[in-house]
Structure formats: structure tokens, C-alpha cells
Symmetry: D2
Subunit: 356 residues, 4 copies
């Protein structure tokens, strides 16, 4: 029972290894009659691209997406929308040294344990390159959502100890793409980028946190019992490489709250606060949906690390090549894409909830 499909009605299948022929996917369930903006899809993809920010890896991947089916004259046909991104910059030789070594923090050993075989080149399918296909699928989902008035935006809320100030509601998400850290708080850009450059210089890496907001989500999305809207959002986020935690609304902070502090009082014009994150009982209430995603520091570092080879013998590993010291700036479009996929799916699922 493979796990390469997400969604029930609006459904994305991805395929591809980091250093195979290409990465791609199939969006099955996009309704007919949607105007598909190809430029917008490519723009999303460019934002995820290594080299898209000066803070990331210097690999220049020429990620051009080709739509293979499902769209005619710029309009969706209701049939599967397949797409392909050829792998161009595939320096497989960079990875020869890693063929018989398990990198700490990576999926090398677990993947080989599961399948008895693995594509060691750049992590194969466990590589974050797979997320390029998610970004394309998410970009299509975003266009369906936009048609229904839903907007999704994310920003880097924390790099190491450096955090944005104030709540999400006080920040201007339009500024995210103006800075290379992809944060919405101009006052912390320099400190965040400085920290990233510092750990890069140290041959190390650092973790981070992304906050994501969905506005204009109609009330009623989310299915009880197991497919609560925040449960599906959580699964989608936790499926992103390097993600270690998910929190809806005030999340882990709610642990130390009293109910009298934590409940959002209801008023005739809406909830007075939004500690719940826009969801009650797993169903959207029409307010902003807000959640946080925790990313660990990138596992690949230039510092020496203890590990073992395939024979089980101890090895000291020191990574070569070009790597991100902090994944969150490039992960912003991925978080947005996954949120769009989940919301588009629930938007269509919702259509079957009432007799009419």
C-alpha cells in the first residue's frame, strides 16, 4: 500500500528520484473549466528552486515544468493533469562516495532496510527534490482555491532563536518574497539571514519554523472524525522533509492555559479571538486558519560526524558539495503548496455533505 498519493477528491500523485529522468506528478480530480495560469505555476516552482535565494544551496536547477495532459487552451478538462520536470543538473558523481555510507539524520539506512535497495544518488526519492512536484500540484490547487476566494500565505517565523515579533495578524504577507529569508517581519530579516550565514560559515545548519495562514476559507470544510481539517493539514506538513512538529492555532502554548483564557468568545460578528486557529471540532469556522510547522536543522553538514557503512563498520563522514544551511526559506512555498492541496481537497469533499 504505497504512500505517493495525497487527497481524496483533489488528489496528487508524485513520482521521481532526485537523479533519475525527472520529477513529476498527476493531479487527479481538478474540476473541469478552471483557467490554468501556467506562468503562476512556474513562478511557484522558481520560489522553491535551489538558488532561488542567496541563502540556500548554490545548485542551479533549471526546473521547467511541462504539462502533459488535462489542459486544453489553458482550461482544465476534468481529466488528470500530469506534469514533468526533467532533472537537468544531475551531478551523480557527487554522491559516489555515499553509495556505501549511511548519512546521519537521513533516510539512507531506513530506506535500504525497507526496500533492500536504494537509489543513493542525492537521496533518490527521499530527496527534498520530490517537493518540486508538490509545489506544482499545490499551484494548481491554489488556482482552484482563488476561484473560491481562498488565499494561502506562509512566512518564516523563526530561525534558530530569532523570531518574528507580534502575531501573524500584524504582519504583511506581501513582503515575504521581498527578502531572501522569506519572513513577513522586516525587522528581523538581518538577524535571520546573519544567523544562517554564520552557521554556513561554521559548516553547520540550523532549524526554523514557518507560520501559514489561509484566509477566506468558507465555514464547513473538514470531515469528522478522522479527517478533521487540522488533522489533514498536520499530516500534509509532517510529510515534508525535515518537519518535526505541527501546531494548529496556539498549539503547544495552550497546554499551560486555563479554559477561561483559551476559549475564543463568540460574538454576533465572529469569534473575539482566534486561539483555535480557525477550526473547531475539525471544521473551519470561516476565520483565518493559522498553523505552525517546525523544521529541524538540515542533516547534511560539513562537520565531521560518526556513522557506519553498509557493512556496519564505523566511518567518519564529512559532507562535501552544496547544501542548504537552513531549509525554511525554501520551504515556504512547499508549506503553502501542501496547505493548498489539503484545502482544495476539502473544498470538493464538502460538496457532498448536504442533500442539497
Amino acid at each position: 500500500m504505497p504512500g505517493n498519493i495525497i487527497g481524496q477528491v483533489f488528489r496528487l500523485t508524485t513520482f521521481g528520484e532526485s537523479h533519475g529522468a525527472g520529477i513529476g506528478g498527476v493531479v487527479d480530480g481538478c474540476p473541469a473549466g478552471l483557467h490554468i495560469d501556467m506562468m503562476a505555476i512556474q513562478t511557484e516552482l522558481d520560489r522553491r528552486r535551489p538558488g532561488g535565494t542567496t541563502l540556500g544551496t548554490t545548485r542551479q536547477e533549471a526546473d521547467r515544468v511541462e504539462i502533459l495532459s488535462g489542459v486544453m487552451d489553458g482550461v482544465s478538462l476534468g481529466t488528470p493533469i500530469a506534469f514533468l520536470i526533467r532533472n537537468a543538473d544531475a551531478r551523480s558523481s557527487d554522491y559516489d562516495a555515499l553509495k556505501d555510507v549511511y548519512r546521519p539524520g537521513h533516510a539512507d539506512r531506513t530506506w535500504e532496510g525497507k526496500y533492500g535497495i536504494r537509489d543513493h544518488r542525492g537521496g533518490g526519492r527521499s530527496s527534498a527534490r520530490e517537493t518540486a512536484a508538490r509545489v506544482v500540484g499545490g499551484a494548481i490547487a491554489r488556482q482552484l482555491l482563488a476561484f473560491q476566494g481562498v488565499q494561502v500565505g506562509a512566512y518564516v517565523a523563526q530561525v534558530g532563536e530569532v523570531r518574528t515579533t507580534g502575531s501573524y495578524a500584524e504582519l504583511d504577507l506581501a513582503t515575504v518574497w521581498d527578502n531572501e529569508v522569506r519572513t513577513a517581519d522586516p525587522s528581523v530579516v538581518t538577524r535571520m539571514s546573519g544567523l544562517i550565514e554564520q552557521v554556513r560559515a561554521e559548516g553547520d545548519s540550523i532549524g526554523g519554523r514557518i507560520t501559514c495562514i489561509a484566509r477566506g476559507v468558507p465555514p464547513g470544510l473538514g470531515e469528522p472524525v478522522f479527517d478533521k481539517l487540522h488533522a489533514d493539514l498536520g499530516k500534509a506538513m509532517l510529510s515534508i522533509n525535515a518537519v518535526k512538529g505541527f501546531a494548529i492555532g496556539n498549539g503547544f502554548d495552550s497546554i499551560v492555559q486555563r479554559g477561561s483564557q483559551n476559549n475564543d468568545a463568540v460574538t454576533p460578528t465572529g469569534n473575539r479571538t482566534n486561539r483555535s486557529g480557525g477550526i473547531q471540532g475539525g471544521i473551519s469556522n470561516g476565520e483565518d486558519i493559522v498553523f505552525d510547522v517546525a523544521f529541524k536543522p538540515v542533516s547534511t553538514i560539513a562537520k565531521a560526524q560518526d556513522t557506519v557503512d553498509r557493512a556496519g563498520a564505523p566511518v567518519v563522514l564529512q559532507a562535501q558539495g552544496r547544501h542548504d544551511p537552513c531549509v525554511v526559506p525554501r520551504a515556504v512555498p512547499i508549506v503553502e503548496a501542501m496547505a493548498c492541496l489539503v484545502l482544495a481537497d476539502h473544498l470538493l469533499r464538502q460538496r457532498a455533505s448536504r442533500v442539497r
Copy 2:
């Protein structure tokens, strides 16, 4: 597209409203030939029962589970195992006052917005009573897991600001059922229970956190890309009432770590540390699987709260009746049940990963 099913191969469907005929479920996909211990199932159910601890609500629900199918002479047939728990203590009149009022923090308004109709009695299907069916399903999954050498245990790690001391590895999970707070650290039992009694006296409620550990999980469980083991665990936990956050391994704490600190060094005898929580790349590595679940304070409190009625007019609500001031002690068996369901499902899914 309803959301009342969890799992792909080992699959639980639940049904039932809080004050209807009963709560129940169907386990579809339990392999044939498993010895089913009925006593053990009932024991799990008793642990979740209101009144099971003196710290919870004083409602005495006589939850007796009846197996309707799929088991003959104590052995699973490979066919669906359906079960039913009749609703006995259904004081619907307790809820008449709430027919036209939306309780803050509850699913009343979102549910009615979605379906145009709701069972207001005790929350209907959005009631935590639904989790009784999860506990039964989880108890069956646990017996399948035990057959394969997997053990799952959870404990209350935090109530408000009161936390267990030390890491999970230093605690004895066998002590959890000896104290009514359901913690594994005897040194904090008094403080935790004291805090719960205090908020009860105040007519308020308090949040908490549960840590769950799975031992003996074979390497190789978890499916790339979207069905990573911790992604499915996260979804399962986030689907539990009042859960606001999920973290695998060191979770949100990893944000402030350097990669050189955070990576688990690999040695010939296993990983030196277990910050990853037993999973790399979404696949189990054979070490302990460890995760945390954040619960908000219970929404139902005796204090006065602002809300609105169905007509949209402002109302001041002050809850009557018997309610938990803190949900985590009773949520321990629910967290365990959901973990068992996810692991049993992935155990069977794993069988299709290799040609053989």
C-alpha cells in the same frame, strides 16, 4: 467523502452519537488467526471511561463492548470485527438548554454550518464519547502488534506548567495505571492532581501533554512520500478531540538546534541518541518511536462565557453538569489506541514492499 475511516489495510470505521443508541465501529482488515482477548479490550475501555479516575467527570458510563462479528471461539476470522457499546447513561435533558446555544470552543456552530443540522445532545458525534470506539479498535490492533513484539505505552508528561522530570527513557511506564493522573513520574503525581483539583474548584479547566512510546517496532514501517510513519501518527493524534499539536522526537525543540547537535550519530550498535524519535525519512529505524501530543484545556467550564445563540444574539453561558477539568488522564488510552491503529496498519502495509 466522509472521514469516519482510518487506515488503509488495518482499517477502523467508527459510528455513533453521544446520546443515540450507541457507539461502535468496524475493524476491517484484521488478519485471520489472531487470538482476541476480550478481557483486554474491556480493560482498555474501562481506562477511558468517565469515572475511571477520581480526577475526571463523575458520570458513570457503563461501557460494555459487544463483539458482533469476525471472531469465532476467540480467534479472528479475517472478516470485519464489528462491535457495539450501548449508550446507557443518556441524560439528554442535561442538554436541553444547549439546543439553541453555541458553546465556545466546541464544534456546535461549525457542525451546524456544515450539515445544517446537528445532534445537540452531548455534542452528538463531535463528543469525545466517540473515542470509546477508537479504544476498542486500538485494543484489537494492540493484540496484533503484541503478536509481532511491538509494545505501545503513553503517559501524562505535563499538566499546565507541571512537567515530568527527565526523559521518557528514565521513567517506568508500568506505573502509569497506579496513579489517577496517569503519569509515569511518581514525583509529580501530587502536584499534577493538585493542579487539576484546583482548576476544578475554580470552575475552570487546564491543558496538558501526553508522551507516547512504541517499543519493538521493526525497521521499515512507514511509506514514502505522503504516508510517512510520523505523518500518519500525527494525523491520528490531531484527530483526537482537544488536540492542538503533535511533535515527533525532539519536535519544536529542534528549531533552535544546530545540525551538529541534532543529528543522531550512527554506531554499529544503533543510533547514539534518539532525537529523531525512531523515524528517519518517514520510516522506522527500529529504535523507540517517541512523540508528544498537546491538549488544550477542556472547553466546557463552569465560568461565565460570552457566546451567541442560533439566532445570532449574544448570550452568557455558564456550563452545568459533570465535566472533566483536564482531559489528559483519560486521553492516555486514546493516544495509545490511535498509535496502535497506525502501527498495525503500517505493519500490514509493509508486507507489500518487497518482491520477497
Copy 3:
């Protein structure tokens, strides 16, 4: 990966063994706000009941259905509708002789081969008694369909060599429940029932064919490519006990036709003929949907048959007890139920096909 669920959006799970506690099911995905007519459900069930016609078995099963969830004050809540039919007339001792014998034509040997264990009492879950749950699920689906103007009816079109005369369009389906053969052609009732009584007297059984018609099906139901409407109907029919064949429209007769004879000419007011059976390219065209289902003669007969026991030794088997000599009269409500389930599912699936 169990096979006890049918449907994607409107979804029925069934459970239960012939001689266990009961037979039942869960309808997941019935939209909220549907008036549920309990009497109509029971009426459907009574039509399937052994003893419901004098031509069938003389077992008197007191099949009373109890709704356990999902309905309040006669209206669907949008939550799972679970139901239970207790097994009353469970003469398990009738089957003791069969514990170690594989009945020819039955699932005894294959079932035991698959699971290593089987409930031999009355066939366990492989018994046609399981179809009682399908009839209940289908009755709920029928009420959803009726709300949308869709009507489903079936009749016995053939018993052995005896066939109805003329096409379905010339018959009055309202007459089906007036005769015990469940045919729509009064002119063949006597010959059909005579043949059934004759084979009964011989200790033998006979096959038959059922024709089913769905009227008022809106154009557009059915999903390309694999979930064509007639493909899903075919699977649903082939899943009924004793079914050996399925044909949409003119089915196997089309083999010997020329395209110029077989195509339905299109006119401004609809198709001139309906050889296609109301479906083109897997999608309903708004005309009557018509299909045929072939049933083999019942495997259980009073005549002596060669078989083997569990040890593999040859045995001569001569069935005792009460059995149907011909299954088709009682299968009419089952065929209708399965058709209703498929159509209700596609009715809801269709809602996601267009952007607006």
C-alpha cells in the same frame, strides 16, 4: 486490504456471519438532511427475506433492522448510519455435518485456503445472508436517489429456459411484487414458478437472469477511465453470491451486430434506440440504464455429489435442510440495492466534476 467496503463517497461497509451475533453495516457518506423512511427500509428487507416468497427456502428469518446511529428524528445527520440485524433463527446444528466437508460450488475450500480458518455454520460470512446488509444500505441509497428523481427497478427475466417476452420497455415493473417469481411479465409467471417447483421436487436447482432498469438518472454520472458507470455497476452485481455474468444494454448480443445496426442514432429529442443501455463512454446519457445479471443454479442441492473432506478424502454429499431451488426471485431486491448503492455514489461523486 479487505473488501468489505463499496463506494467512494456514498460508502457501505458490511459485517457479520450467518450464524454469529448478527449481520449489519455502516453507511458512511449519506448527506445530511435526508428524510429516512424506516418502514421503507424494512419493506425492502422483507422482500429479500427467506420465506418472503413461497418459492424459496422455508426458513423464517425474523429480520428486523435496528438503526444505531446517524439519524435523529427521522432525518440523516451526515454522520455514519450504522445498522444491525440480529441473527435469530440460527440452527447451527444443521451444519455440524459440514464442518469437515467442502461443499461443491461453495466457498468452503477457497475460504479455508485463504484464511486458514472458516466459520462453517451456514457458510459464515460467505453466506448470502450477508446480502441483507446490502439491502438495508441500498434502501437508504434509494431514498437519496428518489430525492433526485431516480427510480430503480428489477425483475426476473429468465428462469432456466423460460424468458419474459418483449423488451423491458413493454413491461410494467409495478407488477413485480404481485407474483412470487418477481417477474414483470404476467404471461410467464406460471411457467417460471412451475419450473422452480419441478426442480425442487427433483432435489435440484436452476439458474436465472435478472434485468434491472434505472430511470431518471441525470446525464453525467460515471467517471472515466476505470470507474465507468457500467464498470462499477458490473462489479457491484458480480459481487452478489451466485452471479456469473453482467451485460450492459444489448451486451453479448452486440457481438454479432454490425456497427450500423448497433449504434443508437441520435436525434434532437434523444437517442432513437437504447442498445447502449443508457451509458456512453462510461457516462450516463439521461436515458434508461438497463443491464442484465446472470445467476447460476444454487450450489446446494439434495442430490448426491462427489466432494472431499478437509483431510482430502473423497466423500459423497447430499444436502439436508431448507434451501432455495432458484435464487433469482429473492435476488431481485439485492440487485436493486446494489444498483442504488452505485448510483447514489456516482450522484455524489459527480458534484466535484465542474469548477461551478
Copy 4:
């Protein structure tokens, strides 16, 4: 809820329109470690190709399949195997005349009714060209089956009134690819091909029937209740373009049989006959699986036909271009492919049926 996916564990998604960029698919769930024979895949595809037999259309489609992922050094990785067949011979202008006309017997009108938009060029996604992707998926499934000792073969058993003589067991399936009619009975080749040439000369078309056999299928495949092996086979066959009927074993012929004639007597060395077609109660019994598939005459004919245009006005249509007068010779590899897909899926599903 789209219908472009078949299978539960071994799962094929197809995509592509007849005259878009290409046709392709994703096989998700192929176990790791399978040697993939690329030549064998291409051979299967060539057998389906227009122009592959002199009896079919004269279109020369250069169908070359490219594997995009999931295979390294000729071995499956356990990850999705995506593949693409570029559309080469796309004379879209052939179809300009059909942009506003609904062809009788085709999906033109129903497709447009469903989606409000359609790709009129060569039928778009409703074209039988989509089956090229099924053949590739089936060829991979076949290699998994071969590894387990299962062999699948099909042949043309009937063209119009011309039938093969004798039962399938008397025919040599190895001869199928030696004649252009794709039959296994050399004595009817000339009559079958003569009939096809005759209807072509008349500007007409003719129906046919294919028999398919699976040998070496282990006992135990097939899932009760709804996913009986023959129910899934039936659905798979009915999803093929132009298929109107499906029969397992003696199918519709069983209607006129007595139980005493129809039952397969069981002997210590297996069943004495195989009227059941190798399946009892939906589960394989280890004998040959045998079924029949009925194909209608191709809808596209050169003769004048009454139809309507998009405005609803009557039109007389006379097809131009290159078309098959009889679809069955080219459909043989498609039937085989679908059978392989279903059997491979059930082979893997079966692994979860017992505790161990």
C-alpha cells in the same frame, strides 16, 4: 472523485489525451527488487499498436515508452514507476469536422454533458489510445506475476458469428501472435479475417468476444465481500472501451443449467470440471481462471448515420479517416493487461490476510 486509478496495493493511474502531449501513467505499489524487462514492455505495447495487425487501422503510431522513475539499473526501487508515451502521429485536423458534432455510440455528448468542455480531437481522453498506458502498466504487473508463477493469456474467441471450436483447454495460446486475428484456433483464422475485411469493405464494423485465461494463480486470491476476484476482473474488463459484457466461467450459459449439472465435483486431485472459472465465493481455487469479454462493433463507421450537432440540430455523419472495423484483435493485449493488473493487486493484497 475521479476514476483514473485502478488497484488498491498495486495501483495504476493513467493520464493523457489522444492528441495532447502524450499518454502515460504511474504504477504505484510495485514491490522493490523486481527485474523490469523493458523490451517485454515495449513488445506488449507494439501488440496493441494501430498498424500492428493488417486488419486494423492503418495509422502508424510510433509508440515508444519512456520510464521516468522507479527503476534503477533494471530493478524496481519500490517507488512509483512513471512512464510516458509521446503522441507522435497527431493529425488533429482530421477531427476539425467533429468539433461540433456528436458521434453516435461515442462519448462525445455524455462527456460534454459531464464536464461542460471536451477535447474533441480524436475523442480526447475517451479515446482508446488511453489503453496504451494500461498495456504498459499491465506489462509491469505481468512481470511481477511471472515471478510468482502466474501466466495470463487471451485470444479472440468470436468475431460476429464466427467462433473458435472447442474449449479453451484444447487450444494453444502460443499461436495467438502468429495470426493477425489473434485467435488461438487456426481453423477459424481465415473466416474471422475474411469477415473483418468484408465489413471494412462495407464501411461497417463488427463485434467480437475475447476469452482470457490465467494459469498458476495461487489459491486464496480475492477479497470478500465486494472485492471478489471475478468482480474486480469484471470491473476492469468493463472499463475497456467498447466492452458490453463480462462472464466468469460458464457465465450466462449457467442460467439454463441444473445445479447437479453445473457444480464442479471436487476430487482429491482438484475439481473434476471448471465451470466456475477457477473462483468460488470470489476466491481463486488454484485452477485456471477463465472469463469472457464481449465487445460491441466499433462505433465509428463509414456509413451515413443520423446524429445532432452541439446546437441540437440534426446532422448526417459519415466518418472519414482510418478506423478499425473490429476492435478485438487489438484488444487482446488490453484484456491481458487489465487481467494482470487485477491479479497483481490481489496477489499483494493477499499478503495481509493471515496473522502469519
